[in-house]
């Protein structure tokens, strides 16, 4: 089954192989093994992403109830959503959830990376432990926090009221509109900041030490060194990680679904949860997909920009 690509090249002078040579000119030196090796990925991308995506766009232009054939209605779903207050609120909540989470993750991740590049001992121990939230099952973490945030028996209230005496009485962290959004953001930050930290750490390690030595000789302060060496050196990684996390956070379903299901009173209703509820609660599939696809232009731009940065990062 192996393709003797190397042998092919050495024997191209012989006439029966001449046609083969023309093929390798057009299709590339290793076309046989190459096409064979990528064909499973090609099939998967087609069947599991490209086709479903096109089908999703089509369904969003229909009235589709579960178990019924779709009826084409053009842009009606989108037009209706534009003036739907609940949907508008979900867009706002999603933006708040995403930018709030990513902002805190950026700061905490930077702190984690800077601290881990200092002279501390057992660095791989700290790195290893701090990365645990990133590998642990999201659902388990969300359930842990659901229990920690519990209004009557939760340990957070116990600590704040009984142990430290900071609050006079317990707070219903997830059941009050004022604290629910902050609580789900906190859980997303808890789970996501280690990825920021570990990525920034890798970036910091690739900045040449000589730059810092030279700056120290020139009498630069720590702040100046951070602003003029660290930040420019990390720029690409920061852009990649922030964009990647923006996509992931914007589409995070499990944390919000388990902690609040979008409540109380829609105060944490984000778009992925609204999509799910519209599809499997209200059984309106066409409208549900319109909810999911509404911000597709923004998502597409983010993906294209991010993909460009990620590929460029690889080549350098």
């Amino acid at each position: 089954m192996a393709v003797p690509a190397a042998r092919l090249e050495t024997k191209v002078a012989l006439s029966p192989r001449g046609r083969r040579r023309a093929l390798t000119d057009v299709l590339g030196r290793d076309y046989r093994l190459g096409l064979l090796f990528v064909s499973p990925i090609f099939a998967l991308v087609l069947a599991l992403v490209a086709y479903p995506f096109c089908y999703a766009v089509y369904l969003s232009l229909t009235h589709k109830l579960v178990g019924m054939p779709p009826i084409y209605v053009g842009l009606e779903n989108y037009v209706r959503l534009a003036s739907d207050g609940f949907f508008q609120r979900a867009v706002y909540n999603s933006a708040l959830f995403t930018f709030g989470s990513v902002g805190f993750k950026l700061v905490l991740g930077m702190v984690m990376a800077l601290v881990l590049t200092s002279q501390v001992r057992w660095r791989s121990f700290w790195t290893g432990v701090l990365l645990i939230p990133w590998v642990a099952p999201t659902v388990v973490s969300a359930l842990n926090f659901l229990w920690i945030f519990d209004g009557s028996l939760g340990v957070l209230n116990y600590l704040l009221v009984k142990v430290f005496g900071i609050l006079p009485q317990g707070v219903g962290w997830l059941s009050e509109p004022g604290t629910a959004m902050a609580s789900v953001i906190a859980v997303n930050v808890w789970r996501g900041f280690p990825f920021f930290g570990i990525s920034f750490l890798a970036g910091l390690k690739s900045i040449p030490a000589e730059l810092y030595e030279a700056a120290a000789v020139d009498g630069a302060t720590a702040v100046q060194r951070f602003a003029h060496i660290t930040l420019p050196g990390l720029k690409n990684i920061v852009i990649i990680v922030v964009l990647l996390s923006t996509i992931w956070t914007f589409n995070d379903f499990a944390i919000v679904y388990i902690l609040t299901k979008g409540g109380p009173g829609g105060s944490t209703m984000v778009l992925p949860v609204l999509t799910y509820e519209t599809a499997f609660g209200a059984q309106r599939l066409g409208e549900a997909i319109a909810v999911a696809l509404y911000l597709l232009p923004a998502l597409a731009i983010t993906i294209v920009v991010l993909a460009r940065y990620m590929r460029r990062g690889r080549k350098s």
Partner: protein
């Protein structure tokens, strides 16, 4: 030049920050374990709050005997192991081709793989559900095995492309000059060198499949066929639920992932930073 005192206080600050982060990261897991060993009474009366006295193992017994937990465990192992094998095999050969071989469409496929990795499940789960249903795989573990490659394969491929690119091309050329075929060079020279990367990628694929929630929630309706994340989450919507056995289930769900991670931490940390972002 910095004085010794300043750098010592700086170091102390670093340790203070690290310990704070450590407490924040570890506390939910500590709390999960502690809760899993508490009796219903201990929890309701808020006694022996931070260390169960006495240890109650009844939660684990109830979890095994009164719920479908054992079935869910089997389902999760089956789905995660199968998807890991598929993703690792497909991703490894694909990544090698995209990183090393020259053929028409390579650049296009590399971009397509990366974009696929970035397309979120939240816009794919409804059409995928329709497809799975049309193929008669709704409410079956095969439906999950068929769809999980949509996120495991692009991730494994992208991660391993970085790994293959970091292996010097000369090694392969030497083998080719010695009369080896391309496939032979891949199989005998490159693959053994990439083994740590392949292992890390496989572990991440396993973790992703083990942790997956949205597809499993949507595609599976039969309670016996649930995977662990959906099963655990179903405890909070059911009529009878106790935090004790929910947390004991959470502990048992977390253990394999964390154990694998601790055992192979070095490769996983390196793999993640080499694969997903490389400056």
């Amino acid at each position: 030049m910095k004085s010794a005192g300043a750098s010592r206080s700086q170091l102390a600050l670093c340790y203070a920050v690290l310990i704070t982060l450590l407490v924040i990261v570890v506390f939910p897991f500590y709390w999960m374990v502690v809760t899993s060993f508490k009796s219903e009474d201990q929890m309701r009366s808020l006694t022996s709050m931070f260390w169960p006295r006495p240890f109650a193992s009844e939660n684990y017994g109830q979890l095994v005997s009164k719920t479908e937990f054992v079935n869910w465990y089997k389902n999760s192992v089956f789905v995660a192991v199968t998807s890991t094998l598929v993703a690792t095999a497909v991703g490894t050969i694909g990544a090698y081709a995209l990183a090393r071989l020259k053929f028409l469409g390579r650049g296009f496929m590399a971009s397509a793989t990366l974009i696929t990795y970035l397309v979120p499940p939240s816009i794919l789960f409804i059409p995928l559900y329709a497809q799975i249903k049309a193929l008669g795989m709704a409410n079956s573990l095969w439906g999950l095995i068929a769809t999980y490659p949509s996120f495991t394969v692009p991730f494994v491929t992208w991660l391993l492309m970085g790994y293959f690119e970091s292996i010097p091309e000369e090694l392969e050329e030497a083998a080719l000059i010695d009369g080896s075929t391309r496939f032979g060079a891949f199989y005998r020279i490159i693959l053994p060198l990439a083994a740590p990367g392949v292992l890390a990628a496989a572990l991440y694929a396993f973790t992703q499949a083990w942790n997956e929630f949205l597809y499993a929630l949507v595609f599976i309706t039969d309670a016996r066929l649930r995977t662990l994340p959906v099963g655990l989450a179903s405890f909070i919507t059911g009529d009878v639920y106790g935090w004790g056995y929910l947390m004991s289930g959470a502990v048992l769900t977390t253990v394999p992932v964390i154990a694998a991670y601790i055992y192979l931490q070095k490769y996983m940390v390196e793999g993640l930073t080499a694969g997903s972002v490389k400056g």
